[in-house]
């Protein structure tokens, strides 16, 4: 072929042994071919590049969220601060409402050598401690009032800004007034790090805590439990209903208007934007049926309706893949139609059905928009005990954190996205393994 493309030059050289050939533009055509091919490669590279960028952007911002800066110092539970007038015996409320942040502040000030009358210094020290010490110390003291007056070594959360600075996320070259942490605090931070009092611990709070306006104390606990409830509801409702509907449509339904209508409906429902399901849930479940807003139950029902078409389509494909010989054999041995389906066809289609269900569940797990409408965008601090209690969901928590202004929430959001993606990866890998392990080729 390459000889052909060089023939015009040979002709100009006057080699007359061969007949002159017309220029049929092969060089141009091959260039076009190479260009076309290059476009294809570029398109795939573009897609993969952005997949990589997306994951890189999330992981690089979020991996630090799994560690949290904590301060471990001896804390004196001073009676002077907690219960000055010694009324705890008569007024149990006293221990609950005592000013515990001051206890932590004094302890840290003592370690850092800040004088007790240095007001500005104490304020700066206070800025290094998370306000969550209030509940932490309160719970300690209420559980064991005997520690009042003693000195205990306690580990508590550092303030979100200190945490960011310690992780190197705050640019210290910026003018002092324009950043959230002062030079003095940075100096103290370094002292604390050298003495080993400030260190990073695994962030269990991220998985256990509920909502909080302080980034260092905010966690995914409520969201994970809420998502879990919803996934259970979706699984329990959509799997049996979806399988039953597919069995009817695939194995029993006569070809008539009614079944045509159902088929068209299912295909359309699969393409309805998810936010429309949210409107349906709001109008029917919340407004009409009077279910509580923000409850995981309503979220689960909405996601069930949304997942059903996916499951039905996957199940019908799995049923269709079972060869007719299986049915004929069962029918020939005297089984009824129902026995054939439930004893023979369904078990053989089960791996395909479960794979489709898991993929449908994974979609439901990542769905945000309908949940916003039924009020799962709520500030829920306590882990919901039942699906009727207010709760949030993983993607909704991500949405809420993404809207927070504080720098430390970007880290939290990315961390939460990583948790969500890990769940999704686990589910999809499970589906793939299931398919590999049990799929039969006929």
């Amino acid at each position: 072929m390459s000889q052909v493309s060089t023939s015009p030059s040979m002709a100009t050289l006057g080699v007359s042994a061969k007949p002159e050939r017309r220029d049929i533009g092969l060089r141009r055509r091959y260039a076009a071919e190479r260009r076309f091919r290059l476009f294809g490669m570029a398109a795939i590279a573009f897609g993969l590049l952005f997949l990589f960028l997306l994951l890189f952007s999330v992981v690089s911002k979020g991996y630090t969220a799994f560690q949290q800066s904590m301060i471990t110092i001896p804390v004196e539970f001073s009676e002077q601060v907690i219960d000055k007038n010694n009324e705890r015996a008569t007024n149990p409320q006293k221990l609950v409402s005592a000013n515990y942040p001051v206890v932590a502040r004094n302890a840290l000030a003592k370690v850092l050598g800040v004088a007790e009358d240095d007001r500005a210094g104490l304020k700066a020290v206070n800025g290094m401690i998370s306000d969550s010490v209030r509940t932490q110390f309160r719970d300690m003291v209420v559980a064991n009032p005997a520690i009042i007056g003693t000195t205990q070594t306690v580990t508590f959360l550092a303030h979100g800004d200190l945490d960011s600075a310690f992780k190197g996320q705050i640019d210290l070259s910026v003018a002092e007034n324009n950043r959230k942490i002062s030079d003095k605090q940075v100096g103290w931070m370094n002292t604390l790090v050298e003495s080993g009092a400030l260190s990073k611990h695994f962030n269990t709070g991220l998985f256990v805590n509920g909502a909080s306006s302080r980034p260092e104390a905010a966690g995914l606990g409520v969201a994970v439990v809420g998502s879990l409830y919803m996934m259970l509801i979706v699984l329990v409702l959509s799997l049996p209903i979806g399988v039953a509907a597919s069995i009817y449509l695939e194995e029993f339904a006569p070809k008539n208007r009614f079944t045509d209508l159902i088929e068209v409906n299912i295909n359309n429902l699969a393409a309805v934007p998810s936010i429309v399901y949210g409107l349906l849930g709001l109008a029917v479940f919340v407004n009409f049926a009077g279910f509580p807003r923000s409850a995981a139950l309503v979220g689960g029902l909405v996601l069930t309706l949304m997942t059903l078409p996916t499951i039905i389509i996957a199940t019908r494909a799995a049923l269709k893949a079972v060869p007719p010989s299986i049915r004929s054999a069962a029918l020939g041995l005297g089984a009824s139609k129902m026995q054939t389906v439930f004893h023979h066809v369904l078990p053989l289609a089960m791996p395909g059905i479960l794979t489709g269900t898991i993929i449908g569940l994974a979609h439901a797990l990542g769905e945000t928009a309908p949940l916003l409408l039924i009020g799962m965008v709520a500030f829920v601090a306590d882990i919901p005990g039942t699906p009727l209690d207010p709760s949030t969901a993983l993607p909704v928590q991500i949405y809420m954190w993404a809207n927070e202004a504080e720098r430390a929430f970007v880290e939290r959001t990315s961390g939460a996205i990583m948790v969500l993606l890990i769940f999704l990866i686990l589910m999809n890998v499970g589906a793939i393994l299931l398919r590999r392990r049990f799929e039969r080729r006929w």
Binding site: S274, A283, L372
Partner: protein, 494 residues
């Protein structure tokens, strides 16, 4: 007893019925199973179904009907001057009564007696028990609350008795009908078939629910705001829902939202269509099996990532990047380092949405291109066309209807996409053509109008349903049109 306990009892009766039914069938067969019409398990299932199903229906109907009955009876017992008040006030009163009724349950009998003698302290007493009541209850409320508790208790007891009686009677009657000639299997399978049909009707119910619920709420909205002002209005300014204010001063023009939706969708398609199509063509026509087996699943990962993640990516990575790079460009050219691309803009949202749509375009088109018969390719290549010429002149024309269908379906996804635009497109409803400025979409406004406090009587809330039904019909039309094109212009080989 509570509903869940009651259902458990009914289930136990059903289980017992199953065992008795099977045992009875076995006993009738007398060791010769072939004398029975069906296997013993079917007789058991028949008894169990007759025990459970009617009882469950009774419970279901009762649970819906009883609160309505109690509610209306309690309201009928209100004093005349209360009945004369507007409906909203009566609803508030009723809510207070149910709060008090809840509170009564945690009080001891003596405490309750004391309350009736001295009604003034009711609010404090209830609050001390952890039951907050909105206002100081009027004397008739205490009585109504007591009635409410009594009626609820009676209703619950009646329901328990009725359900258990129905379950036992169903089990007993069906047990009586067991005989060797009795066609238990056919009966059970008949009921199963009804169950299957009911399950597949849920799809229809969902569609009916979507259309009906949105339609009724939208009609409420159109009663307050004329339809033509909504569909052809060019200003979106809904104001806030003022409590108690009946006159709505907001303007609800759909056009700016629709313009934003279509513009962002257009930008997204501008990214997704060329990239997705070329990726599909390369994957189906050029790539080796090895490359394909790696690249295709990786591209499809893009489709599995939740849209909220794309939204976050647009918000914290793409948006700021475009903003900064526009500032740099502007600085290099004019010396004025101010950005001309906003962080939230049509471009940001459209671009990221385009990335999200790549796998939809590529995998749908891939299937369609692969379905073009081998013979067409071989014919074209055999006549001396290069591969790209074969693709451009033969394969794409043959696959065109399918590809157009796929693109329409992708477009309907772009129109209905929510989370990316909520985070990356902005909330200002403006009509303009600069892709570097923020615009807003129908979905963003639905979310905006429905997060926070809701009042189902204000146009500010109800407009979301009008927007929703518009969105529903746009996507529905796109999908139906896609199906139509695919069916009408499909090339029939063979």
């Amino acid at each position: 007893m509570s509903i869940s306990l009651l259902l458990l009892v009914v289930a136990v009766i059903g289980a017992v019925g199953y065992f008795i039914g099977s045992w009875r069938a076995n006993a009738l067969a007398g060791g010769k199973l072939s004398s029975l019409h069906s296997r013993p398990g079917y007789y058991g299932s028949f008894v169990a179904l007759w025990a459970i199903l009617p009882a469950v229906v009774v419970v279901f109907v009762w649970v819906i009907a009883s609160p309505i009955y109690v509610n209306s009876t309690i309201r009928a017992g209100f004093p005349e001057e209360v009945k004369a008040e507007p409906q909203a006030t009566q609803n508030l009163n009723y809510n207070m009564i149910s709060a008090i009724a809840r509170g009564f349950k945690v009080l001891t009998a003596e405490e309750r007696e004391a309350l009736f003698k001295d009604g003034a302290a009711a609010r404090d007493v209830l609050a001390s028990k952890g039951v907050p009541v909105a206002a100081e209850p009027a004397p008739y409320m205490l009585k109504s609350a007591d009635d409410l508790n009594r009626m609820t208790n009676t209703s619950s007891t009646l329901l328990s008795i009725l359900a258990i009686v129905v379950a036992t009677a169903g089990a007993f009657l069906s047990y009586r009908s067991i005989a060797p000639k009795f066609r238990a299997r056919n009966r059970v399978e008949g009921m199963m078939l009804v169950g299957l049909i009911a399950a597949s009707s849920i799809a229809i119910l969902t569609t009916v629910g979507i259309v009906a619920s949105m339609f009724t709420e939208a009609v409420h909205f159109f009663n307050m705001v004329p339809a033509w002002e909504f569909f052809f209005g060019t200003v979106w300014d809904p104001r806030f829902a003022a409590a108690g204010a009946t006159a709505s001063a907001g303007q609800f023009g759909l056009i700016p939202l629709l313009a934003g939706t279509l513009y962002i969708g257009f930008v997204a398609m501008l990214v997704a269509v060329p990239v997705g199509l070329f990726a599909a063509i390369y994957m189906s026509e050029y790539a080796s099996r090895h490359v394909r087996s790696v690249a295709k699943p990786l591209l499809e990962v893009l489709a599995g990532i939740p849209t909220i993640v794309y939204g976050f990516f647009a918000l914290v990575t793409v948006g700021p990047f475009l903003r900064d790079i526009s500032a740099q460009l502007n600085g290099l050219v004019t010396g004025n380092y101010s950005n001309f691309i906003q962080a939230q803009s049509v471009l940001t949202a459209g671009f990221v949405m385009g990335i999200m749509l790549i796998p939809y375009v590529s995998s749908l088109s891939d299937d369609i291109i692969t379905a073009v018969p081998r013979a067409l390719r071989d014919g074209s290549l055999g006549l001396g066309a290069t591969r790209s010429e074969t693709i451009k002149r033969v394969i794409l024309p043959a696959a065109l209807p399918g590809i157009v269908g796929a693109l329409l379906m992708t477009a309907s996804r772009a129109v209905g996409e929510t989370m990316i635009v909520v985070l990356a497109a902005g909330v200002a409803a403006r009509m303009q053509l600069n892709p570097f400025e923020p615009m807003t979409t129908v979905t963003v406004k639905i979310v905006n109008q429905l997060t926070g406090d809701l009042e189902f009587t204000s146009p500010q809330t109800l407009v979301a349903f009008a927007l929703g039904i518009t969105l529903f019909f746009i996507t529905l039309c796109l999908n139906i049109y896609a199906l139509y094109i695919v069916r009408k212009y499909r090339e029939q080989y063979e």
